[in-house]
Symmetry: C2
Subunit: 532 residues, 2 copies
Amino acid sequence: MPATAVTPPEAAAARPISKALYVGPFVHSVSLQDLDICATGAIGVDENGIIAFVERDVQNSDAAAAQLLGAKGGDWPGARVVRIRHAAGFFFPGFIDTHIHASQYPNAGLFGTSTLLDWLTTYTFPAESSLSSLPLAHRVYSRCVARTLSHGTTTAAYYATIHVPATALLARLCLAAGQRAFVGRVCMDAPAPRCPDWYRDADSAAALAATHDAIAAVQALDAGRGLVAPILTPRFAPACERDTLAALGQLLQRSPGLLAQTHVAENAGEIAWVKELFPEAAHYVDVYGRAGLLGPRTVLAHAVHVSAEERAELARTGTKVAHCPASNTALGSGAAGVRRLLDAGVTVGLGTDVSAGASVSVLEAVRHAVWASRHRAIMDAEEVASGASGASKESSGKQNGHTETDSSSCCNGNGNADPDRAKLTHAEALYLATRGGAAVLSLADKVGGFAVGMEWDAQMVGLNALASSPTTTEGEMGGVGDTGDLDIPVDVFGTESLADCVAKWVYGGDERNTLAVWVRGRAVRVRQGVVV
Amino acid sequence: MPATAVTPPEAAAARPISKALYVGPFVHSVSLQDLDICATGAIGVDENGIIAFVERDVQNSDAAAAQLLGAKGGDWPGARVVRIRHAAGFFFPGFIDTHIHASQYPNAGLFGTSTLLDWLTTYTFPAESSLSSLPLAHRVYSRCVARTLSHGTTTAAYYATIHVPATALLARLCLAAGQRAFVGRVCMDAPAPRCPDWYRDADSAAALAATHDAIAAVQALDAGRGLVAPILTPRFAPACERDTLAALGQLLQRSPGLLAQTHVAENAGEIAWVKELFPEAAHYVDVYGRAGLLGPRTVLAHAVHVSAEERAELARTGTKVAHCPASNTALGSGAAGVRRLLDAGVTVGLGTDVSAGASVSVLEAVRHAVWASRHRAIMDAEEVASGASGASKESSGKQNGHTETDSSSCCNGNGNADPDRAKLTHAEALYLATRGGAAVLSLADKVGGFAVGMEWDAQMVGLNALASSPTTTEGEMGGVGDTGDLDIPVDVFGTESLADCVAKWVYGGDERNTLAVWVRGRAVRVRQGVVV
């Protein structure tokens, strides 16, 4: 099997850790709407990376930490203490990227004015095809994993390519770096023009064999650590033969714990194509339903243009959605009706969708989720102003062979149109990036928040707290003023609340503010000069 | 006069410079559509900061530079040589921010889900009001100027506050830092509820006196250098009495070289309010027309919701537009029809509109211009699909007392609807950020591009060129791979063209890629370790 070419991981995932106490402000989502913002926190994490206790009234000092550990007894007094030392800093859950094509990382920013289908042939297939070369795959994947980790992504659901050895290599690099990951070999066996003849699985049998090989290789590398797992990855309906989709569906149904990921309803041309290729299906979501690919272990990316009926089917089956707003904006796919999905009971997380999304940063995806929701609200307002009702638009959309006029989240069939409802707050977008993503990847009980029994997948965030200078005199105003520390983004002037700091981080922060990153209690990325 | 409290600038703007030769790739806009990408450039800049020659076929070496300078004769052989030493680097014109509220800088990222009018009262007026304190103004403005410069903004059109001393302080800080700037004292004299009683000019006479004082103070500080200039700054129509607007218009008309800036047609509520306050005006643009405030020296921010008639009036009078896409998205104002403005013959530049825009980065505004244009195209496509015509929507919009349904750029009255026309390329957005902005601020002959006779307002851009490793062996793949240099964004793998590098910079770059910044030939910002 080709994966044997890959040496076993000298894994960050396997480094032993000791008990630790994380002291300082922490922030995490407790519901879609609500951030829990605790200025005086202390979180104890055991030697398995599991949160043992969460205290809410501890001073940020070595003395207070020692006192708390003493009170905990056992071997807690010997625990390592990691304190927030920034004036404007806090612990936050690690980000969860529910949809990223690691193989497309070198193409980030290259898309011109293309839309989905020409983007695939112009930019994407050539880039993915080149990763048949393992040295090139090593360059691309190692860089992509290092970058995502530096941006605070503690869990990622990766698409690799059709190549088994390179897919296994990506899994190995995740283990070596200590990142929690789902790694999927892309399955695409439909003949040209559905897939290029120079980049596809030869036939259904070859596609299924390679799928099994990739699953076995990734599982062998993880070796029971439970950090890196395979994930079934049919590219999208147009790229797969009907029988292949059904075989993958059967594999999914008979493999407890195995996840699946693919794309749905991203743009109008794609939707029309699917309707043509799968005339027997009631709608795009039903293509996967007929193949047995829906369910709580399946992640569908995009869902920009889904009907009320499709939303209901996603909710009924428990199928999850990866919202990829940066990608949807860049390729002009649309502004997904996230509120409508949530209102229908669908579980939603965020994806960067590199390289259609240009950034590996989930924080950037959080911003894009907010921004796309503003455009969704603007469109909803225009629809309300022009008198369109959701119900009538939905039916007319389907008669036209596509459903893109049904992406409004305002007109949900009860006549109570409120365009502003489409707007996501930054707290809601942060929820999607953490708890939401965890639920999408069947990890809701493990990561995405801070609670006893959950694992310490976290980042230490630090902003740029400016020295206060209330006594500045006119004489001191002779120079150019405070020009120091321009290398750390997000200036905090001292009048901001901790909640304000979170908002400023969301809209102005980047990976420089992510001072350290932990996965299951292990420090997997620490910025120079930061003590953990 | 209060401005005397400000000490004279120990100005970067006054530092002497010597002749210099800038060797290496350069990139700049030569038309709206076209970037001139020269891989083998050399640009000579004289001791006044003026470009003396542009060569296009010079090797990037000290020997080639010396040979070229020798051939130029005179005292050119003694010129300083500044070479691009990055494998993926180039010179690019400095950015021009045509609309930024320096006074709101501490609020960057704080806006919640507000829209324009509640945003003003909740976030903005309190922040601006606090800058009656000069020490606080010094903290805020020094930081804002340092940040904008570090992001490559060589020219900015600033809004300050109503306070004359703080406005003069901002001008002094620009001079001290060496940044080209227009600095405007905000004029707002309408009584509550149009302006808060705790933050406004007492009456029209006070507003005009303060306006004159601020102009005199800024001109005195600049002392003929021509680097920092005053700019008339009525906040926006609702904040100013009719007579005050007219007096400002008269001042503008009788002051050759003086510029003016204000806001127009940003959101629906504002537009309805203006219609109510100024019933005599044909439309929002006409409010300023009646006051004598239109013309080639006037910059109107936003113009998100302008009718064909208003666009024609802007074009006829030569009035300029500052497009602020990040702000328009954040506040849910809309997606401006930039293509329609350009097609109508209106001159357009980019503004960050801090703090409604959360970032001082014009590069971020470039991205937002592209993204907003995608949403404009999506909305245009939905309008086309629903059978709306531009002409009919315009008239219905106006009958409803607002014009937001007229922001489509597709249906321009000739029946040839092409939603994709709304899309801006990254090259077009870069044009708006450089040449466009220069034209907006009446600087088209001086800055925004590289040509003989223009001034050297420029930035050195460097990306993160990864070491090529074509010979990577399987043994070398044992570790975590290339994790170096994570602190410089935009990975370049070596297969990219220089044009690709520009695109990757646009979508993935930040101020870390701006290695050095020059204004009129003076280095005003140089990153540590960079030799200029």
